[in-house]
């Protein structure tokens, strides 16, 4: 019996030693394999010099320009920049905001996919000592700052330009189609504001169709069908430049004559490089409500850094500018294109 218990003791001791050895070896391997930056990523280092730039639609044509400005500003101010992977999904956006808040980063600036969904996150961020700013059309309550672009102001610029074109080119009468994104406030403001401004200038312009469409590929197919229903369409207002490019290609697929092309106006918003080039070159994309995207990206990071450091302004208002086929509009477009290096 005593021999048996001695054997058991020896076995247990050997097993414990083996476990200790394996754990020790594994720990040493992990320690050797992880460089300092990896440890920092695991949360062993301070995260206060980190800013998250939560622009949720990384596949939009505006994203590279926004990111360019944000990266330049982050480098200048000595911050690490985190990017969004939400891919326009609200649940993914909420998840990644929770992750960043949990990491205790310095601050986050977010383009909210749903304003109401942000309110609990703002509270959570404040409890964790994380600065929370929004980059949107309006300031959310309780934020530490914002970068605001007034979509209704931008909508009025494009809508009024389209109205003037209808009066000048079509004698005030026009058939209008709207490519919208009603689920998002930006979509509502741009499209509803745009058509209100158009009809204020050209009251006889009539909306004949309204459909969902944001990205180029979906607006291509929607416009192909729209032009079958309304071959004599005159104006298409798209919530974003990406969609305007798709609508333009669908129109050109109908092989329109030069005279027909003169009766078509496509307008969008954002001020993406391909859209501004199309406007300046004199095609049927005749206007875009442009935001200085590199400037907004930089302002977003600077405002967040100011909020973290507690010095300088964390509240920035960014106006839209009109890129159109007027002399002044073309000049604005060329200036922005030069700034973007395009």
């Amino acid at each position: 019996m005593a021999d048996e218990s001695q054997e058991l003791d020896q076995l247990l001791t050997r097993a414990t030693d083996r476990r200790k050895f394996i754990l020790g070896a594994a720990g040493a391997a992990v320690g050797l394999a992880l460089p300092g930056s990896a440890l920092a990523r695991l949360g062993f280092a301070s995260n206060s010099k980190t800013i998250a730039f939560a622009q949720p639609d990384t596949s939009a044509s505006v994203y590279p320009l926004l990111l360019k400005g944000a990266q330049q500003a982050a480098k200048q101010r000595g911050y690490q920049l985190l990017q969004s992977h939400a891919n326009h999904q609200l649940d993914a956006q909420v998840n990644e905001l929770n992750t960043w808040i949990g990491q205790g980063i310095g601050g986050v600036i977010v383009l909210p996919l749903d304003n109401n969904a942000m309110l609990p996150l703002i509270k959570k961020a404040h409890q964790a000592g994380v600065k929370f700013l929004d980059y949107s059309d309006k300031a959310l309550p309780g934020t530490d700052g914002w970068v605001i672009f007034n979509n209704l102001q931008g909508a009025a610029l494009v809508g009024a330009d389209a109205g003037r074109w209808v009066n000048r080119s079509l004698g005030g009468k026009a058939k209008v189609a709207l490519l919208t994104h009603e689920i998002q406030q930006t979509g509502k403001d741009r499209i509803h504001g745009g058509i209100a401004a158009l009809q204020k200038v050209a009251p006889k312009a009539q909306v004949v169709a309204r459909h969902e469409g944001v990205l180029a590929a979906e607006c291509l197919t929607v416009t192909q069908s729209l032009l079958q229903a309304h071959p004599d369409l005159n104006v298409i207002l798209c919530i974003a430049d990406d969609g305007a490019l798709g609508a333009e290609k669908a129109f050109m697929q109908t092989h329109p004559s030069a005279a027909r092309q003169k009766q078509m106006y496509i307008g969008g918003w954002d001020g993406s490089i391909p859209a501004m080039k199309a406007v300046v070159s004199g095609g049927v994309i005749r206007s875009t409500g442009a935001l200085d995207l590199v400037g907004i990206g930089a302002a977003s990071v600077n405002a967040t850094a100011n909020a973290i450091e507690g010095k300088g302004s964390a509240r920035v208002n960014y106006p839209y500018v009109l890129v159109s086929q007027s002399a002044a509009g073309k000049k604005t477009g060329r200036k922005l294109l030069a700034k973007y290096g395009a």
Partner: protein
């Protein structure tokens, strides 16, 4: 193609005594029953009739051409996808492989200034390599097809984002524009490619042993292997074909837009899978019809086009699409149930004559 279902083998129906009356209708029902997804064809025709009655712009040559153009890309991808699903596999990475090919094409053509032909060849080769990786992992190493292609769904798009940094390359010139915007005998080039691939696909599906092998692999892989069917090589090759089709579809869309947009292919896998499943290919494999898939593709294309012609507002369009798809699936299920009801008129004329002769003798 009347012997369409289950890759070429017509179903035997039990012989029952003929009771007489309404023979014409029964014969019509029996003829339609020979096509799997006959219910979907009827739903498609009914929907077409409704749109024709509601909009003068629906049943026109121009609009039908537009519908053909719009369904072409989904159609090109759906043919190999249907073959994969038939053999019990699935490819969820097609949309991301499409944008990967587009990204490679844009970089090669605009950044590295390769010729159009070289840029297209490299893009298709990259897509094919991705398909080969899928095929090897799934068919030879027995990884889960859903997990591997879900990995591809994220990975291929991530790789394309890394290549492009989300910058859209555009302005590929008139030669490349022909691929998406040109016509051959008034039919859009993408539609010609789709119809050509459909004919090839249908020949493989219904006329070649390969079609029966796909069904056999989907129905019972072990039994198929014991009968000498290449249960690894065949699906592996189809994965490569699926990725090549995805690359081709992406390039056609790039040509239409004259821009290698990083947003290309978003949601494409879902559209393709919807068309395949709506067309009656069983998700578990072993049963399906390529004609059904064609009807599924056309059904979705006609529905989207018709709703726009009728100017259904943005708030109700998704509801309408969901309702019509469920109704179509219900009609198809109902029709397949009808199909199983013994119908004497489905018997060959000779049998009918024989029965009559027997009746006369007795």
């Amino acid at each position: 193609m009347a012997h369409a279902e289950t890759a070429g083998r017509p179903r035997r129906r039990p012989r029952v005594p003929r009771r007489g009356g309404s023979g014409g209708m029964r014969r019509l029902a029996a003829t339609l029953a020979n096509y799997q997804s006959g219910g979907l064809l009827i739903a498609l025709l009914v929907m077409g009739a409704i749109f024709t009655a509601s909009s003068a712009n629906f049943l026109t040559h121009r609009n039908l051409t537009v519908i053909l153009l719009q369904v072409s890309i989904v159609g090109i991808l759906a043919i190999p996808q249907a073959m994969l699903v038939l053999s019990g596999y699935v490819d969820l990475s097609v949309g991301s492989v499409a944008v990967l090919a587009v990204a490679v094409f844009g970089e090669m053509a605009k950044v590295h200034h390769y010729s159009l032909a070289a840029a297209i060849a490299i893009a298709i080769a990259v897509a094919a390599a991705w398909g080969l990786m899928n095929g090897l992992l799934i068919c030879y190493l027995d990884f889960s097809p859903i997990i591997v292609t879900l990995g591809g769904f994220a990975g291929a798009r991530g790789l394309s984002d890394t290549i492009t940094h989300d910058v859209t390359q555009f302005g590929f010139g008139t030669k490349f524009a022909w691929l998406g915007n040109g016509t051959i005998a008034t039919i859009p080039v993408p539609a010609v490619i789709f119809l050509g691939l459909f004919v090839i696909g249908a020949y493989i599906w219904y006329e070649m042993p390969l079609g029966r092998h796909l069904t056999a692999i989907g129905a019972d892989r072990v039994a198929a292997r014991s009968l000498g069917v290449s249960t690894r090589l065949i699906p592996c090759v189809i994965y490569v074909c699926s990725a090549i089709a995805a690359g081709l579809g992406g390039l056609i869309l790039t040509s239409e837009l004259d821009g290698a947009s990083p947003s290309i292919g978003i949601g494409l896998e879902l559209q393709v899978l919807t068309a395949v499943l709506l067309g009656g290919v069983a998700f578990a494999g072993g049963r399906g019809s390529l004609w059904g898939v064609l009807f599924g593709i056309l059904f979705i294309g006609v529905l989207n086009n018709g709703l726009i012609l009728l100017n259904i507002g943005p708030y109700v369009v998704n509801l309408a699409v969901g309702a019509v798809l469920i109704a179509a699936a219900g009609a198809d299920a109902f029709y397949q149930r009808l199909e199983r009801i013994p119908v004497a008129a489905a018997e060959p004329e000779g049998v009918e004559a024989e029965a009559k002769a027997q009746e006369a003798v007795t």
